[in-house]
Symmetry: C2
């Protein structure tokens, strides 16, 4: 018997209901039916993002959506403050470079969050900065930054705020309008519980002003002005991956029926239980400000990361992610997003505990699941 | 009862086997398993395209794949001859314009093919032309151009040939290597029988030389050099729509098990039967060189196009496409691609005949299906 249990921070477990919806009789996308699906998904995404901003559905990964946002929001003469504390924030700086967009990197050691005070400081010192690019939840290091505080600073100083919410939207508390996020980006394969293939953007009127007036070189394919024009008709400029959009309607209904704040609580509970288990198993967290959507563990000596993930995968069907770049081989990452609950999480912790024990890590066996269980009982989950 | 029968020239009917494959337990994409899927699909795509060229699998529509090709193949100092005879060839000119790529439009009336002699003439007159962009099968007008002859001219004069084979690859005879096609582009939702969401490119060593050396502005997301680097490892630079790639393996197996030349024959047979039916029903074809992958009919007076498509859709569940831009309301289009055969096609012709009759077109009722039936019997299908 082989069960697949995805605890990778994307793709995450997709509900069978969504998979089966996508296997239903296959229709055309330029139809009244599909416009209705787009309209419905758009409204539901606004509810998930807590925004009245216009939402774009883009066929491509989150990177495609981010490229469109960065290019659109940076006409000649603009300058981005790129808050860099991991693999994904690094990528957004590379996009700026590739398009010749002036940018300053606010570099922070991997595992640390972005300090809002440092953002404020940069903005105060360099008057030419017009925008701030920040990753809400840095998936590569499992670190959450205080997007609300950063949003406040951006609003005070009238800077555009572009936020990569790829592993936060639908998982962590995120109030787009209240926090003043001008462009929120996310992808389908994280908390939205879908397979990969769609990117999303929620764009504020402030950002649209800049994007509309921007005469700089855009990508032809990922072009927010064109996407907006179509979105107003509940349509897309080019052929969309409409199968995924159909699945999206199912997963958005699941999330909204659970209730957004309940989803946040479920995710936070699974993360808290996981951190309690780590502590009980004498495993250190990599992040100095752990995100609730994903946990990164330092792999304790003498355990070898590759063997740990292999055992999890082959013995238990549990998929953790490894580290990237400089921290490859040093950490493993476990997701709290997707179609999973406390029971699934306890199972993953049990497998993690079992594997650590087998691979020579020294701790009180059973302490991990017991600690997690306590948290779940306390939280009534 | 409601059956959906897609005769739109994309998306086309997807085999249940592929839909169900995509509903199977959901795995991660950065795994040995998925690398094997990519490798397998790449090799099978090479067999469909009849090429040894490297193949890229791009998450996005065919337009994304085309953008990457056009940008990559046109460094500073290059000039494209854009052969324009319909909606899609028009789009490729727009991409050139947007990136400031010098280009000459070789414009031909919609419905006519590209004349290879005219291409030769342009190349002879304008020595600065470095590439030719042509659409093999112009979906908007259902017109096939002689790609083999155009390829020969490009090889004689050492020009790069970029071919949009979006509604030809896997449907019409197409011999990438023999014909000297430098960049072949196609999408998932046509003859490859998948839902939309993937674009494909097969790129020749000649084209790679140009793309590799090109320092011009590329899109970050659709970047052939990056895609190539990953493809060499059976991987992708960003998160791929891996569910679709998994479905792709199923549809490629179906096509290759049928045999590529048999697929071409099946498509050609359905097209020939459809044209015979049109003639028998006194319906004119729009194209002066009809493609076998899709047929465009002039809507005969007094039939109203919208009513015709509505009746087809609502009474018979049959989806035809309309016309675009200047020919909107004047034509309807019927696909011969996808998971369909002679029996399906005869059903569509019957519904078309029935609807034309009901909507006031004057012809001998039954002549359409009888003419189609004769063709199928002659061809043993």
């Amino acid at each position: 018997m082989k069960k697949i249990r995805l605890f990778t921070p994307g793709p995450c477990t997709v509900p069978e209901e969504a998979l089966l919806e996508m296997a239903r009789p296959f229709e055309h996308h330029r139809t009244a039916w599909f416009k209705e699906v787009i309209k419905d998904c758009t409204e539901k995404l606004q509810k998930i993002f807590l925004t009245t901003n216009e939402v774009l559905i883009i066929t491509g990964s989150g990177t495609a959506a981010m490229e469109g946002a960065i290019v659109g929001c940076h006409p000649a003469g603009s300058k981005a403050l790129v808050c860099e504390n991991g693999k994904f924030s690094e990528r957004w700086g590379l996009i700026c470079d590739q398009y010749g967009i002036a940018n300053m990197r606010c570099k922070v050691e991997w595992g640390k969050p972005i300090d809002p005070a440092v953002v404020a400081d940069h903005i105060a010192k360099d008057k030419s900065i017009t925008s701030v690019i920040v990753v809400h939840s840095e998936t590569s290091t499992a670190t959450a930054s205080d997007l609300e505080a950063i949003g406040k600073i951006c609003r005070q100083h009238n800077k555009l705020l572009l936020a990569d919410c790829i592993t936060s939207a639908g998982a962590l508390p995120l109030r787009t309008d209240d926090w003043g996020v001008d462009v929120l980006i996310t992808g389908s394969q994280k908390a939205l519980m879908l397979p990969p293939g769609l990117g999303f953007a929620a764009v504020s009127p402030r950002a649209w002003e800049v994007i509309e007036a921007n005469k700089a070189q855009h990508s032809f394919y990922v072009n927010y002005n064109k996407a907006r024009k179509s979105a107003k008709q509940s349509d897309t400029p080019y052929t969309p991956a409409h199968l995924l959009v159909r699945g999206l309607r199912v997963t958005l209904d699941l999330l909204l029926n659970e209730g957004l704040e309940n989803v946040w609580k479920r995710v936070a509970g699974m993360a808290a239980a996981t951190r309690a288990a780590a502590s009980a198993m004498n495993v250190q967290l990599f992040s100095q400000r752990p995100a609730d959507s994903v946990t990164a563990f330092n792999v304790p000596a003498p355990v070898v990361e590759k063997e740990l993930r292999k055992m999890l995968r082959e013995k238990f069907g549990i998929h953790f992610a490894g580290g990237q770049d400089a921290i490859e081989g040093k950490i493993v990452r476990m997701s709290h997003m997707g179609f999973i609950d406390s029971i699934d999480t306890l199972g993953a912790i049990a497998a993690f505990e079992h594997s650590l024990h087998k691979l020579g890590h020294n701790f009180t066996l059973g302490a991990g699941v017991a600690a997690a269980q306590k948290v779940f009982v306390e939280r009534g989950m």
